[in-house]
Symmetry: C2
Subunit: 325 residues, 2 copies
């Protein structure tokens, strides 16, 4: 089968396609013939050698895909051969085929294209656990989501609205602002035009219950300023800096919580738990069209380097997916 190879990246700065032996599913796994895969920011970091895959994971890039179940292990009852599925992968989705634990496979929503279905698992699983489990967002609370236009941002906005929260987000252009407003946000801040701390102070004087942040750096203490008593800051990446200077006094005075998580490093059991919650609560909302995949741009497999470049330039408003012919 063809795979996208990142081994040459450091030499010539490009991903290349390469033939490799196809994976063999074990008793618990489903072999998926991939129709599309999603591009995620960790893929860029992994390609650059900044985010090594976990010890037992595939060395091939790619954290989510959709396709057809081609072969199922003998203990798999939830999925049968020929089913349309999408899945969270522990790596290996930048390929024509991948083996995935059946726990991490979803039925592909019948109203979505393969590219749309491929763009669901990573963002929605990441957002579910960080917003509701680590962030403990509840109905009637407020949430600030930085980078609302990102793939993660779109999923976070929709899940938070679904949960009955007031949703504020930050973006960096007017076009992205209009996009986030169209998703139903209570308020969208263009941080190129306005300081988000001042915006929150002025428009939401009670401040925020939860903040989802992928930036870190100088955003960290600003985030603490935007939280109300017992507020929770949930860190899911640190594009602006891994080592911010933390103000312990703010944490103590307002009894704040700083927490965060990654999805990839989790056990199979934890991923199953999160997937099951999405299947129960969110998949029906996607099937009914109330929650949308927010796919922004599709590429063909031969355009993989353009797809990466597009994400690296942060031009997207939603997800980017790659189709396999």
């Amino acid at each position: 089968m063809l795979i996208v190879c990142d081994k040459e990246y450091n030499a010539n700065g490009k991903l290349v396609l390469k033939e490799e032996q196809e994976p063999c599913p074990n008793e618990e796994e489903v072999l998926i013939k991939i129709k599309a895969f999603g591009i995620n920011r960790p893929d860029i970091l992994q390609k650059k050698g900044l985010y090594p895959p976990p010890a037992n994971a595939s060395k091939i890039l790619g954290l989510e895909c959709s396709g057809i179940a081609e072969k199922v292990g003998k203990n798999v009852t939830s999925i049968k051969e020929g089913d349309s599925v999408c899945a969270l992968t522990a790596g290996g989705a930048y390929a024509e085929k991948v083996s995935v634990h059946h726990w991490h496979c979803f039925e592909a929503p019948t109203n979505l294209s393969f590219a749309e279905a491929a763009s669901l698992p990573e963002s929605f699983m990441t957002c579910w656990t960080n917003i509701f489990e680590h962030g403990m967002l509840e109905r009637g609370e407020s949430i600030l989501i930085h980078g609302g236009n990102s793939g993660i941002g779109c999923a976070a906005i929709q899940l938070s609205l679904w949960a009955g929260a007031a949703v504020i987000c930050s973006v960096r252009t007017e076009e992205k602002k209009r996009f986030c407003e169209s998703l139903g946000c209570t308020s969208v801040i263009n941080t190129q035009k306005e300081d988000f701390v001042k915006h929150i102070d002025k428009n939401f004087p009670k401040k925020m219950n939860v903040i989802i942040d992928m930036l870190g750096g100088d955003f960290t203490n600003k985030n603490l300023q935007c939280l109300r008593e017992y507020g929770r800051l949930v860190q899911i990446a640190f594009l602006k800096g891994r080592f911010p200077r933390l103000d312990l006094m703010q944490i103590m005075k307002k009894k704040l919580v700083i927490t965060g998580s990654t999805l990839r490093a989790r056990s199979d059991e934890e991923k199953k738990r999160i997937a099951d919650l999405l299947k129960k609560n969110i998949w029906p909302e996607i099937e009914s069209g109330k929650i949308k995949p927010c796919l922004y741009k599709e590429y063909q497999l031969s355009q993989i380097n353009e797809a990466h470049e597009f994400m690296e330039n942060s031009m997207h408003m939603g997800k980017i997916a790659v189709n396999i012919p």
Copy 2:
């Protein structure tokens, strides 16, 4: 009545005694004729102008006391005149009398001296909420307590042992180490002789569920290294530095929580909630002698400056109290 006045502190570096009008209890308050009060580290900071009292609080120093209920407000039924009590005060305990909301008064345990009873409320309330509420320590978990010899440390060690946790603490001398061992700690680290991160790595390879820290500064990231997955770092002061450099990657990878709180800034209702939990769970253990006040040294009112100096030199192993004749 006599009070300890810190107004002159900045001029001559000394606290002085001064006459002032006695407070008048409202309908919900108890006027306590003070027999003893506890010294707490925030008193030192307040004296130096580094920790201003909350807006509605007494400007007089002092966060806890014991004594006799001299007058009770007309809505007070839990305490009657002549009762021996101890209390958390919102300030004002460095005096011959203080008015306190009856919610924040405890029966003085019958087996304790007034000086011992005076040293209970602040430490035990601080430790209860930070260990069990913010730190969510559970039976069978492990906790690392820095400064185990402090007043807070002694209370934290005893509450954690009572809850069925493995208790590790850090101190800075061999004498303090022996003292903490005598309280029943599983392991005590002398940080002058041994790096606490290495000690935890070697002796507790699964690492800690909870850390109670009053230091901050360079301890913060070391603490994160000592936490296991889903571990909680609870900050209750920052004697080594308010603005540590935080490693967001550690938080995300291990799904850690950094949190903390202060007691003084809380609402009367919150303080009542914490006091009620102590009355129910811990006061019987104190009455039976299983949990001890750990009073280390007593002073007379005229020796108030010596008492402060003793705390500032960190020579104590337990609490310091001042008796009023």
